[in-house]
Structures are given as structure tokens and as C-alpha cells.
Symmetry: none
Subunit: 538 residues, 2 copies
């Protein structure tokens, strides 16, 4: 049996932008578009050129290599010809492969929000689609409020979908804009749309999670005949979010019910990257990944000690709905963890650290890491700190210098001109080869001052760290409330172009920052020696 293709349409950069607390910069958008393109989605919707400066700037270039790059915008206004509508002309000028027009399909909204007649709205749909095609773009139409519109006036909702299709739209996307439609309604209404003459091969679904069923509604739509799914990374989006592509993709690929009938652009090799894609996106948003997320969550394949755990070890397949490795995730049995050791050995090997399976120092390292992670460290995102810890535990890292103490002061006071001013000053006291070195520096804030003071005078090592540069600094408060613990992640780079991440954890943010700064400096000194050794050996 030939399997039909389900097209994957990502709207993280457009509808995902509606998420409370999320505002993408142009740089964010470029990075995310590259992630999506690389992963292999069919379409990447980038935003609404003309609506705001960020999106306009983003669309001055094509931002994908493989995926169709889509610009979103409204259909032409009533009473204006398509060639005189400035919104349309910005859309057509955008460096996009496709234009996705949002069109009203609920007669109530045509009247109240657009203030035009039902016929004028159909004309707007038709003319906008034709203009996009005329400009050499693929045309798509998001039928806003389609399901609620259908319930209010089925004939009119169908007319909107049909008009878009007849005008040549490649995709007519049925949107559950308010997110309240139930799967049985999705199935019935899509059957009516197909019966009205829009084939399933031209239909898409855009679901929201207001009743926790965005994934189910998307899949119910596929069952009903729809062949394109719109969604976002990790289900971000307005209110309760959009359909989560990170959940839908593995279900389509791995669940027999769908995999026997459908294909997607994501093959088994790409699917293994799913967990990393999901976590990288959260990293970019500076938020902790959801441990309980389907497929990709840290707990998705975790079994707590109990009746299941021992049986699980006998035959994991009968306790896991899919293989964790298939989506790049891991099994986690919270009792005697046999798989954990092999993971560690691999992690160390990847960093050029050889260790025997039965070396007692390996067990020591595993228990130190577990203990530290329980207290808030996250070595997954801090490879340099992990490598330092591993080398310190297993072998030797030179003791370059020691810290006798530091002091940071932040003072807000009136200056001589009567203006309030905040000053940050740091003092760091080091011992290098028995010599005491004290440095003081002012900075933009306490961490900046501390960084400058630490790197101001490192004695005989000073020339070695001249090219060290702090490029990113992230703070996350764990626990929250009164027992808050702060985790600081620092990204550093140098003239070699290498980048490394270090971590510090403390109830005191300055302390946590200092740990991460120290690790960064020591890592750099260690790397310098490894590099010199390598060159000498060559």
C-alpha cells in the first residue's frame, strides 16, 4: 500500500510568538529557522512582514534552505484593490516561497471585525490568493475560526474554504482559533468540507490546546482526510498553546495506526534528533524543559522504584510504548541503573577521557555528578564544567592558582550632581605560586565587576587568558520562593573560536557566578596545555 505524505508546517515563529512572555528577536528567529530547516520540516512560517520591524527585517532574506519559507498576513482589505493594498504588497515583496493568508470564515467576524459583506470577504480571499500566485508564490489560506464559523453558518464557512481552493491555494487550513472544538466535531466538519469539494490532499489543520486536545484534534483531522498539520515546537502559542509538533511527529512516525498509512519528511535518522531539538529550543527560550513532556521529557521513560522497575529490566519493550532511543531520549530506572554507567563512559570518551568500566574512580565520579545534579547543577548544558569535574576526579588537572576570597559591592547613591547612580566594584584575592595577587575592578553589574577583577591579574598566566571572552550569561532560579537556589551558566570563547559552557550553583547568585567564572578560566588554561601538548607531539 502506498503511504500518503503528511506535510508538517511549523508556526513557532508566527503563532508561537503569541505566547505570553515570548518575544523573538531577529537573531532568535534566524537561529530557530535554521534549527527547523535542518530538522527537515516542510514549511517554516516566519512571521508577519509589515506588522512589526522584527518580522519585516526577518523577511528581507530567505531564511531556509530546504523548507518552504512562509510569510503570514491578512487577505486584502475590502474596498481596496489588491494592487493598492500596502499590506499585500509587503507580503508579496517578502523573500518568502509562500504566502499564508489568514481569512475570516465565520460570518460574525466578517461583519464585526472586518466590517464588510460576506461577498466582499470571498472576493478578498480569491484576489489575494490569485495575487500571490501571480507573484510566483505558493498560496495558502488559514481559515480563521473555521469550526466555530461552520457551527454558526456552515454554508458560509464552506464557501470560504471552497473559494480559497478554487482560486488555486495549495493549502486550505482549517483553524480551530478558539481551541474549543472536540475531536468528534473535527471529524464531522472535515468530512463536510471534503464533501463540499475541497480534497483532503489540499487541507490542513491548525489546532489549539484549550481543552488539552490539540494533538488529538490534529490526528483526528488526519484520520478525517487532512494532509497538512500546523504546529509549534514544544507546543508554544497563545493561551494554552498550539499543537505540539514535537509530540505529533513521533506519533505519526512510530505508531502503527499512522505509520502504516502515512509518511512524513522526518525519517528515523532525523527522529533521533527530536529530544535535542526540543531541549535546544527551550535553552534558547531560557526555560527548563518540561520533564513530563511526551517522548522528549527527562521523565518520559523514567520508572520510579516499584512494582514495574524490576519487570522493566527483564524486557523493556513490554513497559515502554516506544523505544526511548528512537527519539533520542533515554530510559531511566531509578533503582540500580545499569545503563547509566555505559552512558558515562561514552560521554567521557567523547571528550578524549579513557576510563575502564570497573575503575572505582568512575563510580566515584558518577556519584559526585548525581549528588551535584540533585543539588541543582546541570552538566548537560555545561560541558566544560563536566569535563573539569571528570578530569579532577579521574586524573589530574593542574592546580593553577587558588582563591583566597572575593568581595563585591553594589552601591546606589546620589552622585555630586544629585543624580542617582549605581556603582559595582569587585575585589578578588588569589594565590599564585605562593604569591598573593589582589585585583579590583568596576563593572556594569556585580558579575561583570567580578569577571573583570578575576581576569585582571592572573600573574604568569595573564597572557594566556587575554583572548578569553564571556559571551553569554544565563541565570535560572530553582525551587523558587524562600528556598531558592541559583544556577548560573556562562558561555565563553577565545581566539581559537572554541566555545565552552560552565556552571555554578549556590543560594547566592554572586557565588554561583564566581564558580562558573572560575571554571571557565581554569578550563581555558587546561585547554591551552592540551593544545600545546598536541602541537608538540605533532
Amino acid at each position: 500500500m502506498t503511504r500518503e505524505k503528511i506535510y508538517l508546517f511549523d508556526t513557532t515563529l508566527r503563532d508561537g510568538q503569541q505566547t505570553p512572555g515570548i518575544d523573538f528577536s531577529v537573531e532568535d528567529k534566524i537561529a530557530i529557522a535554521a534549527m527547523l530547516d535542518e530538522f527537515g520540516l516542510d514549511y517554516v512560517e516566519g512571521g508577519y512582514p509589515g506588522a512589526n520591524p522584527t518580522d519585516t527585517a526577518f523577511f528581507t532574506k530567505k531564511r531556509t534552505e530546504r523548507a518552504g519559507f512562509v510569510a503570514f498576513g491578512m487577505t486584502k482589505r475590502a474596498g481596496v484593490s489588491v494592487s493598492n493594498d500596502p499590506g499585500i504588497s509587503q507580503l508579496l515583496q517578502a523573500k518568502a516561497d509562500a504566502v499564508c493568508f489568514v481569512a475570516k470564515s465565520w460570518d460574525y467576524h466578517v461583519k464585526v471585525a472586518l466590517g464588510c459583506t460576506n461577498e466582499e470577504n470571498l472576493d478578498a480571499i480569491r484576489e489575494s490568493v490569485e495575487a500571490a500566485i501571480g507573484a510566483g508564490k505558493t498560496a495558502m489560506v488559514d481559515c480563521e475560526h473555521f469550526f466555530d464559523g461552520y457551527k454558526a453558518n456552515p454554508q458560509y464557512a464552506l464557501a470560504c474554504a471552497r473559494t480559497a481552493y478554487d482560486a488555486g491555494a495549495r493549502w486550505v487550513v482549517l483553524c480551530d482559533t478558539n481551541g474549543g472544538t472536540q475531536p468528534p466535531e473535527i471529524r464531522d466538519i472535515i468530512a463536510a468540507v471534503i464533501a463540499a469539494g475541497v480534497p483532503g490532499s489540499s487541507l490542513g489543520i491548525h489546532a489549539h490546546n484549550d481543552t488539552g486536545q490539540a494533538v488529538a484534534n490534529s490526528l483526528a483531522a488526519v484520520e478525517a482526510g487532512v494532509r497538512q498539520i500546523q504546529g509549534t515546537l514544544n507546543g508554544i502559542g497563545e493561551r494554552c498553546g498550539n499543537a505540539n509538533l514535537v509530540t505529533i511527529i513521533p506519533t505519526l512516525c512510530l505508531k502503527e495506526t499512522y505509520a502504516s498509512r502515512f509518511t512524513t519528511a522526518i525519517d528515523t535518522e532525523k527522529l533521533v534528533e527530536l529530544t535535542r531539538l526540543s531541549h535546544s529550543f527551550d535553552e534558547l527560550l531560557n526555560r527548563s524543559p518540561d520533564h513530563q513532556a511526551p517522548y522528549v521529557g527527562a521523565s518520559a521513560f523514567a520508572t520510579k522504584a516499584g512494582i514495574h522497575a524490576s519487570a522493566l529490566l527483564k524486557d523493556p519493550k513490554t513497559y515502554e510504548h516506544v523505544e526511548p532511543q528512537s527519539v533520542g531520549n533515554f530510559r531511566k530506572v531509578m533503582v540500580s541503573d545499569q545503563g547509566g554507567k555505559a552512558n558515562f563512559i561514552n560521554e567521557l570518551k567523547r571528550r578524549g577521557i579513557a576510563v575502564e568500566k570497573d575503575d572505582p574512580k568512575l563510580d566515584q565520579l558518577i556519584s559526585i555528578v548525581k549528588e551535584r545534579e540533585a543539588s541543582g547543577y546541570a552538566y548537560e548544558g555545561a560541558d566544560a564544567s563536566f569535563e573539569l569535574l571528570a578530569r579532577r576526579t579521574l586524573g589530574t588537572v593542574p592546580s593553577f592558582f587558588s582563591v583566597e576570597g572575593f568581595r563585591v559591592m553594589v552601591e546606589r547613591r546620589f552622585d555630586a550632581n544629585g543624580h542617582l547612580k549605581t556603582i559595582s566594584e569587585a575585589v578578588v584575592k588569589l594565590a599564585i605560586d605562593g604569591n598573593r595577587v589582589m585585583s579590583v575592578a568596576e563593572g556594569d553589574g556585580p558579575v561583570n565587576a567580578l569577571d573583570l577583577a578575576l581576569r585582571k591579574d592572573l600573574g604568569k598566566y595573564q597572557t594566556e587568558i587575554d583572548d578569553l571572552e564571556l559571551v553569554d550569561f544565563k541565570v535560572r532560579i530553582l525551587n523558587g520562593g524562600t528556598e531558592a537556589i541559583t544556577r548560573v551558566l556562562i558561555e565563553s570563547t577565545d581566539n581559537t573560536g572554541m566555545r565552552w559552557w560552565t556552571v555554578g550553583v549556590s543560594e547566592n547568585i554572586i557565588d554561583a557566578s564566581f564558580q562558573a567564572l572560575m571554571d571557565s578560566v581554569v578550563y581555558k588554561l587546561m585547554k591551552n596545555r592540551q593544545l600545546a601538548g598536541k602541537i608538540a607531539a605533532e
Copy 2:
């Protein structure tokens, strides 16, 4: 048409206990059982008496007044008579109204996990159910791995369900233990169970969220004829969690598809308490509620988009799938740089601030907010700072006190015993009615010290802020790298139970924190006056 009742079975205290990171004490269980009972669920499953000291202690008393109190446990072991099985006798002695037996229904697990024959397992189900009924309890059977078991050996899975029913079990619960079953499979397999002679009125569904469809699977089961749903508060549970009752209940009550055919024990009056129930439970778990949770999340009825916001105000019903008030939540039109004037007016109205559309101060406020948001402020997550800014711009906020300056010092040094120690100390200088007040405090970190110093002596206002409590603190680094700007969000609460969020932005994290702390204190003083005014007016 008579509507059929859907029974609600809560397993927060049993299956919810499998959530990584969650361990309930007896006191926790008592508090949660009371919340569930008060809310009106039909059954509260409390745990597994005999399996651990907590659960055994919890079942020494009946812990519900209205809900059926359920003890969970395994069916009798093979090769032992029911009266000689210590597990069964602990279950029957527990002070519960009902016993829910977990029974294997996948022949593979009968062989591998139980190590007995298929017949012996059927005998165990029959005899355990009869024993519970003989002891005056309601009997229920959770058919573990039912759907996977059915796929492997349909006859045997059906025989297990049928045996439980024939023995007199009030409920035969079909469990998707591994969580990977899809809604179409749920429908087909349940149809087969009903055809095999177990009526839907005796069937329950127990779904897990491993493909993000626990809610959809539960509702698909109801469509297929099942009349009991098992789930947990906020969807806690092993791996990706159980079916979320907080999502399922309002869908059953408010969505025509279900409400026209079914009733539940939760009437419209109780439903209004849903948001509070969900948040109280998170409070008890000491975690922040999920903002994007269906129905009850802070963002569930929040609109960011400018184009939607103005239409929303004209007729909210056409932009909301249910009325936020019906579940005890509320509408939120967010202030953000995407929002228009209508957004602002509505936001102000919601806070009791009346302003004319053409008031020049409104334009001034909008431009201040936009300017501040461009520099890093995020008022959508800081309603109290927004209200303060608005009242300051539009009307008057009393100038309670002024800040002359502050100084924060963090020092890491060796103490008298030679241990490295970090000390944080803050000094705050205020002017209150012309009097200068200086306070000094030590804290766990610089922000904690600053908070303590600021609230240590507020002169004549001190008694007013005694109940002010800082409950959460979030830090986000914007831009990153050398031009980093820090945004701090603080959540506060007081004895009235009200919660408010304030924001501060600066290149200096201490400065940003101080702004947010100040806003919190001033907001509290302002609210006290509004509250007093309201009481005086009444």
C-alpha cells in the same frame, strides 16, 4: 433525553505518587483527600495499604465524607488461598469503602511478572473480587496493560475483564498502562469489550499521557461507552502523567458534545472552584502553576495579539471557547508592544482605572510602556508594576517614602575555622516624612539581604507590610554577552491571599531586583488604601 452520569475517579494519591519528585506524607494525603472530597469527586483512591508505612497509616481511618474512599492493591497471589494472602487481608482491613485490585490482563505479563498460568490469574481476579464483596466493600478491577494485552491476545484480555465483571466488580477499568494507545484503537477495543458482555455502565478508563492524548483517550472511551474516568489533579503521574481531571471535568461539563449527553458530580457551582483547586494543589506541591494549562492557567484566557484584542472587547464570546468565570479563571488582555489602545483601556478598566479614549495621558502611558518594553521591561508578566505605572501616569499614587540609596556587599572569605564562607549584607537608606531611616540586614544572597533590609523598618508603614511575603523570584538575562540586561520578576503575596507580580530591569541585577522589590512594597501600600477605602464605603 436522560443524561447518563460519568463517574470521576481520582488517583492523585496513588498513581500520582509515581510522579518523579513527588512523595506525599500522610499529612499531604489527608489535605489532598479533603480537597478532592470537598470538590465533589465520586471516588478518591488513597494509595496501597500494606505497600509502605505512609499508605498503611493513611488507611487507618476513612479520609473522605462524601467520596468513595478506595484502597488499591494486587489481586491474590497464585498458589495461596485468598484468606491466606497477607496482602489481601491488609486491603480488606483498610478503612476504605472500596478496593481497587490491579490485575494483569496481558498474557505475557501473567507469565513473566506473575509467573503463573493464565487460568490461575483469572482465578485470582475472581476470588479477590469475591473476597472484597464478602468483606462489605465495593470491588473494582484495574485491568493493567489492557490495550496492549488485547493487541497481543484479545481473547485473554477479554476473559480478564469478563471474569472481573462476572465476579461482581462494580467497575472494570481498562488501563493504558504504557500510555501509547491511540484514540481510534481505544474506541475499537472498547467496542469489543462491550460486545464481549461487559456493559459500558461498568467500564472505566485509565489513560496515560505518553503521546499527549490522555485527555482525548479518556473522552474517546466515554464516546465508546465507558462511564468512569480515572485521572489525577493537574495530570501528575508516572512518566508523562495521567489523564488530567482538571481538564476533563470542564470539558464534560461545558462542551455541548458531552454536556448534552452526560452529567458529572460537579455542578456549575462547584466548577467555579476548579482554578482554585488546581492552584492550591500546586501550592501544596510547592511548584508554580502551569500558565498554559487548559481552563485554569493564568494564560488560558489571555490575548496578546492586537488584532484580536480590539475585537475581543466587542464580544468576548466569539474569541473564547468557554467563559473564563465558569471555571473560576479570568480574562486577560495583555499589555505588550503588540497591543493596541483598546488593549490598554481594557486592562486599565479591569483594574478599576477609568480613562477616556482621547485622554492625552493615555497616549503618554502607552508610549512609556512601549519605550520601557523596548528596553527590556515585560509588563505582561508584572501586573502590579503595570498598575503602579498606570496610576502614576494617569492619576496619583501617594509618595509613601523615598530611597536615598542602598549598598549591597557580598564577601567570600575564610572564617575563623578556616572554612570558606560567603556573607551577604545590605544597607538601605530611606526618607519617610522627612525622617531618615537606615536599615541593615544579612541574607542568603544579595537580593535576599536587600529585601530584608528594605522591609526591616518602613517607619509608620511597617505594620502594614508585616504580612508581605516574597514567594517567587525570576531572573532573565536579555541580549546576552557584554550588553546584557537583566530582568527580574518578583511574585509577592500577603494574608489576603492576593498575589502580585513586579518587574525591574537594569544592566545591574541588584538594581533590577531593587526596583521590583520597591514596586512590590509600594503596590502593597496602595492596595491597603484601596481596600480600606472600599470597606469604609460599604
